[in-house]
Symmetry: C2
Subunit: 419 residues, 2 copies
């Protein structure tokens, strides 16, 4: 498999440097980017050319945090804060996924729409139900998207209709789930998923930490999202050094994504940095649920890993383009309303978070630098502005206006063309 994509190409080299090239060529071979060229290299003149002249070509977007079973109520029920929102809205809906018919209908919608979105890689919460989670994984495997999916663990402070009762039961279900994942799946892999500390006993955390080591599995969870949640964790785990320690003491911060971290600082941040944990920033969700605004500028200054997530259905939009501009917007309001020591994120930084930075959880993913996997998006703009615009300006318009101004017309994952 070898071809060239021709068009107006944008990608991050790092947090500060966004490369934008007009009418350039991206060479993909054996699923990997080989190089981006200003003009067609002679030695590639016989390679298949996919000509998207005049269109924008970007790396695929990496959504590091979203909940598939919440897709059915996205865009509704935004009037509660986290803990009430879970009890009133989320848990009753997730419980329905015990029913495989319901799960199939819900997950088909989710996977179809995710496939048509700008997302090429995603890290996804299922429910605690083994079979529904396997079904979700099967649909994702078939979609061509690359993903991690977690069967959720929860054994305390959960409603009777959505709990695993004991750590043993939860761990047993998890091992069964892991054993039933077909060995030949290429695109969809498992990730251990303690829901969050309030619903996971120490025994369960300990068991999951051992499983992570034994099976060499990555981990995802939530951390320091909401003030009520944080106070509750303090009560539940009086001996923990900080909320993050409730994971760290069982080895669950390594090879892991922690969503939100709105209130993470001091020792908790040091622990994340020491373990190489990826913080997943979910700006729209943190706004919708009145959680707050995470100090991303501070995390970047501290060289902590950060990526972006939609957090559907705390976030309403599947669009990672929107997540990029939401990250900028929230950082501006945080700056203006609360703390002028942390300047707003730039477009270059926010774009990098959604691609190269978050993509690192998947390996060499999220850029067109040589050796990166061939995840690419082609956007066709509905019209060009009366102004002469640079490629970077057109990218900005796309990020700020999304479906209002452009259509995703081709999508590549690991070099494979999805449409």
């Amino acid at each position: 498999m070898e071809y060239l994509l021709r068009g107006d190409i944008c990608y991050s080299e790092n947090l500060k440097t966004l490369i934008c090239k007009e009418n350039a060529y991206l060479h993909i071979k054996d699923g990997l980017c080989q190089g981006v060229y200003d003009s067609l290299p002679k030695e590639l003149s016989s390679v298949e050319l996919k000509d998207y002249s005049g269109d924008l070509i970007l790396p695929g977007m990496v959504d590091l945090h979203l909940h598939a079973p919440q897709y059915g109520f996205r865009g509704t029920k935004m009037d509660l804060e986290l803990l009430d929102w879970l009890n009133v809205n989320t848990f009753p809906e997730e419980a329905k996924y015990q029913n495989l018919d319901y799960a199939e209908r819900g997950y088909r919608d989710f996977v179809e729409d995710l496939r048509e979105s700008a997302t090429t890689r995603a890290v996804i919460f299922g429910t605690l139900h083994k079979n529904a989670t396997l079904l979700l994984m099967k649909l994702l495997e078939e979609s061509g998207l690359v993903s991690y999916v977690g069967k959720v663990n929860m054994d305390r402070n959960s409603p009777e209709y959505l709990t695993e009762h004991t750590a043993e039961e939860s761990l047993k279900n998890t091992k069964e789930w892991l054993s039933e994942i077909p060995k030949d799946w290429q695109n969809c892999k498992p990730i251990l998923t303690p829901r969050f500390t309030p619903t996971c006993s120490d025994a369960l955390m300990e068991g999951l930490g051992k499983l992570a080591k034994e099976y060499k599995l990555p981990v995802q969870s939530h951390l320091s999202e909401n003030l009520g949640e944080i106070a509750w964790v303090k009560e539940l785990c009086p001996d923990a050094k900080h909320y993050g320690d409730t994971y760290d003491r069982y080895g669950l911060l390594e090879n892991s994504i922690m969503a939100h971290c709105v209130y993470t600082e001091g020792e908790e941040l040091s622990a994340l940095k020491a373990r190489g944990t990826m913080i997943c920033h979910c700006p729209q969700s943190n706004t919708n649920l009145c959680s707050g605004a995470a100090p991303i500028r501070y995390f970047l200054e501290e060289n902590v890993k950060v990526g972006l997530g939609t957090d559907v259905a705390g976030g309403a939009n599947l669009s990672m383009l929107r997540a990029i501009t939401d990250a900028i917007s929230v950082s501006k309001l945080r700056f203006r309303l609360m703390d002028q020591s942390l300047v707003p994120l730039t477009l270059e930084e926010a774009f990098c978070l959604a691609t190269l930075s978050g993509g690192s959880f998947f390996g060499k993913v999220g850029s067109f630098l040589p050796g990166y996997e061939g995840d690419a998006l082609v956007f066709h703009e509905k019209r060009r502005s009366v102004r002469k615009q640079t490629v970077k300006e057109r990218l900005e318009v796309l990020l700020y206006t999304g479906e209002e101004s452009a259509r995703l017309q081709a999508k590549f994952v690991q070099g494979r063309q999805l449409f």
Copy 2:
């Protein structure tokens, strides 16, 4: 002209009450809403039925503040605060509208896209150029949308390439502009438009106040948007009681829209209330330009008139659906980050701001209550959720996800079907 629209109908009765009816009938006759019925009234059985069963039918959206000549750079250049943003980005672009060819291309794009958007009524800034503004008005007149458009006035603190030099020149141009507007235009009307106090001398303000009275014209301008701007106005007008007084002392707060009011309080707010001024809240623009977050909850408690605006191109999106949810989002961050005495806006309130509340600037506009003008939108949702959803929940999804989840498939203004 008489017909019925059938579908799932939502409209505001007031700020607190949003009516949502499944499979209902909206009766429109002679351009006015006659009533909404749960079932087809016998006496209307022979009236033409436009059947949009299963689709959402909403009142047309009222965008109270946007800048047509800035449409060409929407979604770009968001890294400066107001005063620098005007000098670096806005003034050079507006200056191009002296060229009628350029103006025609830019304004055609703007009017076409506005026509295809959810907006049925708009209050729009042009540039200071008389002929380009007349051209914009002609295109809007032909579009079928209902609008007010202003030729901008600016006679000080403006670049040499975009100024009217003296109050006399500015007033003379304004009178010529008014005299050249064809008398038979039905849809597009003039509105006096002092840009804002920094660029308008007292003599100009005084002259515009007299013109407003003499010609019985409404007024639009900007007020208390940004901290740097407010400090500058204090320097420029040391004798004014507050920024709002720089308009009020010349009668320019009556029958007027003041955009932003991010920092309006105390005597300034009392003046707006006393004059019946409409505050236009532009949440996305105030975020993008780091201006701040207006205390809309407080304005509503004080019974001041409030509507919504996109403020293109301080705002990037033409979509008033997005403006509704941006208003909610910004109020949540303001609540969480800054001031917990003002609770976030509800969906009912924000929806009302964009329709009934802002619509009052145009008369009985923005609702389906009997006697209101027949402005209606029909949205077709791409899919229904696996969850059973109420009509109100489907409306929420539409507002939060916009083009991601639905297509505007029919649009009516004053009873006339645009498409």
